[in-house]
């Protein structure tokens, strides 16, 4: 991850009030992770300690320290989707994913009236049964 690229992101958001989260989101989106080097650059630019920046990065589920290039399917496993039987479908989804697809857990996509639901990037899927969930995993 290039110092210049990170600095460009920082410069883009410096005018905002409380710019750290928008900066971290932009770095995560561009590089797929926020590594120690990026934390150092951001800390320096915002006049924070590296520990403070690392504390923020490690606090939030959306930020990761290592990139994972595999396709990712996020499955909602909160109460409303549990009520619709998502837990019983998980073994089949895990088997379909294998090592190739990364299955993430989200707690709620706000599609609770039409669960079980899943998200791939910015596309959402609802009313999944086991076959549809497996097909979704295999298609990515």
């Amino acid at each position: 991850m290039g110092e210049a690229a990170v600095n460009a992101i920082v410069a883009r958001h410096m005018g905002q009030e409380g710019p750290l989260l928008p900066i971290l989101h932009a770095i995560q989106a561009e590089f797929g992770c926020i590594d120690a080097e990026a934390e150092r650059i951001v800390a320096e630019a915002l006049n924070l300690s590296r520990a403070e920046v690392h504390g923020v990065v490690s606090f939030y589920h959306d930020f990761t320290s290592r990139a994972d290039p595999r396709p990712r399917v996020d499955i909602c496993r909160a109460e409303a989707c549990q009520a619709r039987g998502i837990e019983a479908m998980m073994p089949a989804a895990v088997a379909a994913a294998g090592e190739r697809v990364r299955l993430g857990t989200v707690y709620c996509l706000g599609l609770c009236s039409a669960g079980p639901s899943a998200r791939v990037g910015d596309t959402v899927h609802a009313r999944l049964d086991e076959a549809a969930l497996v097909a979704l995993v295999l298609a990515h």
Partner: protein, 501 residues
């Protein structure tokens, strides 16, 4: 003219493919907000009549008017006709990003009237309406606004809490996607009332469609709300950031850790300045209240100290899931059976969780409880953000109680001990209870361990310990995450003890 929703729930059920099929058949398709009848999505409306749930292959039959999926006039559908929609008055009827539709349906009238009123009167009208915070705590919105208005300081903020993380809730999402201008108008009125020039909407990252709609809407209407200015900020997957003080920390670019109160955010909030923090539904109810006579009309609805309407979200294993806005006072029995149609699986209802992951599980024996803040509080439950999640008789309440503790452990911000450690111990305890206790370990039986239990634990002693732990979490936690996690756990234990055997 064919109208199809572009709400995320409709998209997730395949609305885009249905819209494309209508276009391919030569129709003009207009993308509108969702009516909130999610079991019928994708729902298609032609001249007021509805068909759903449609698949692309149904298009021909709909256009020839021989489709068995016809539901008649949508506005007359019992699910819609029985509602009292104020916050969701435009649902299903307008294009979310159309300024013309918004103004034609009464949009900006509240803001324009508010601009002509003395500052104090805006707040008086909100107080008179009886509007209480819809995020869960139910604090009177007008009192909060007055505190901010009277707080010293030249820089003040309006923060909209759109971190709708509770399972079983989606009303905030539907407002942001379906009627974004209403939320913006509500924030601009709040800004006028308290003297704030800047607003933030903190949206969870799980809602990409809402984020896009809000940003587009703000760009369109910024001249109308000027000099007030609104910025959308995206959360980063932390449930606890729905708690107002941790949300403020997150906005400031810090770990989303809860702050001790006092100081209240109304006095020292964002960047140390007086700040109004209100939920999406609270702010979206404001434009209606600020209409001529709107405050009295709003306050005339409801029961006791719960005034106005509540957008209730029917979710989980329910046949007719969706958005049901009605005056406070409806019973849970009506909601689950008459309106929701019972379970989607057709099996008997075993439990209903009201108020999200921190809400109590309610047994069918207690379904006469009426929907208002005080009734739920006195029944050791909460209405929270108005989510109603139905479970059928296959639900394992012991497992759900364990999940409540597990969720708290995963999402705890770590600031206070009862929540951070208590939730982990809670998971272990529930596991132990379900195994029937444990034998004494070798260290406990050592002669020098004078104060240790010599006989291990039994199921009964572990249940006592769990109740004790819940008591500690309830009264010792800094915020609602640790403080309310005992509700689902204890209610499950009390009403379904057999699931803990």
């Amino acid at each position: 003219m064919v109208r199809i929703s572009d709400d995320a729930a409709a998209l997730a059920c395949g609305a885009d493919a249905v819209a494309a099929a209508f276009e391919a058949a030569g129709c003009t398709v207009e993308r509108v907000s969702s009516w909130g009848m999610h079991w019928l999505e994708p729902l298609v409306e032609i001249d007021g009549r509805g068909w759903g749930p449609l698949e692309p292959g149904d298009v021909g039959a709909v256009l020839d008017d021989r489709s068995p999926k016809a539901i008649g006039r949508i506005a007359d559908h019992p699910f819609i006709a029985r509602q009292q929609r104020l916050t969701f008055a435009r649902a299903g009827k307008t294009r979310p990003l159309s300024q013309d539709d918004y103004r034609a349906s009464g949009g900006w009238a509240g803001l324009e009237r508010a601009r002509l009123l003395p500052q104090g009167q805006i707040i008086d009208e909100v107080i008179d309406s009886g509007l209480r915070g819809r995020g869960g705590a139910g604090f009177p919105a007008g009192i909060k606004w007055r505190t901010v208005a009277e707080a010293p300081g030249t820089r003040k903020y309006i923060v909209c809490n759109a971190d709708e993380g509770d399972s079983g809730t989606f009303a905030d999402r539907m407002v942001m996607e379906g009627d974004p201008f209403a939320l913006i108008e509500g924030m601009a009125i709040a800004g006028l009332a308290v003297g704030a020039g800047k607003g933030f909407i903190y949206v969870r990252s799980e809602y990409p469609h809402a984020i896009a709609k809000l940003r587009a809407a703000i760009a369109l209407c910024s001249p109308i709300i000027a000099p007030f200015d609104i910025e959308v900020r995206v959360g980063a997957g932390a449930y606890v950031c729905g708690e107002e003080t941790s949300l403020l920390n997150s906005l400031e670019g810090k770990r989303g850790e809860v702050r001790a109160k006092p100081p209240l955010p109304a006095i020292e909030g964002l960047f140390g300045c007086p700040t109004v923090v209100n939920n999406v539904l609270t702010l979206a109810a404001v434009p209606h209240i600020l209409l001529e006579g709107g405050s009295a009309a709003y306050g005339a609805l409801g029961v006791g100290r719960s005034r106005g309407t509540m957008p209730i979200q029917l979710a989980g294993n329910i046949r007719h899931g969706g958005l049901y806005e009605t005056a406070f006072g409806v019973s849970l029995r009506e909601l689950v059976y008459d309106i929701g149609g019972g379970t989607a699986s057709g099996r008997p209802v075993k439990a209903v969780q009201v108020g999200g992951p921190l809400g109590a599980y309610i047994h069918p024996d207690r379904f006469d409880i009426v929907f208002d803040y005080e009734s739920y509080t006195s029944a050791d439950a909460l209405i929270g953000h108005g989510g109603v999640v139905v479970f059928d008789d296959t639900a394992d309440m012991g497992r759900l109680a364990r999940f409540a503790m597990e969720f708290c452990a995963a999402e705890s911000c770590g600031k206070c001990t009862p929540c951070r450690i208590g939730a982990v111990r809670g998971v272990e305890l529930i596991d132990r209870i379900r195994k029937g206790g444990r034998p004494a370990d070798p260290v406990e039986t050592l002669a020098q361990m004078h104060n240790a239990a010599k006989r291990g634990s039994t199921r009964e002693s572990d249940i006592t310990l769990l109740e004790d732990l819940c008591e500690t979490m309830k009264f010792g936690s800094l915020c609602a995450l640790g403080g309310f996690t005992p509700y689902p756990v204890l209610s499950a234990l009390k009403h379904w003890p057999e699931d803990f055997a």
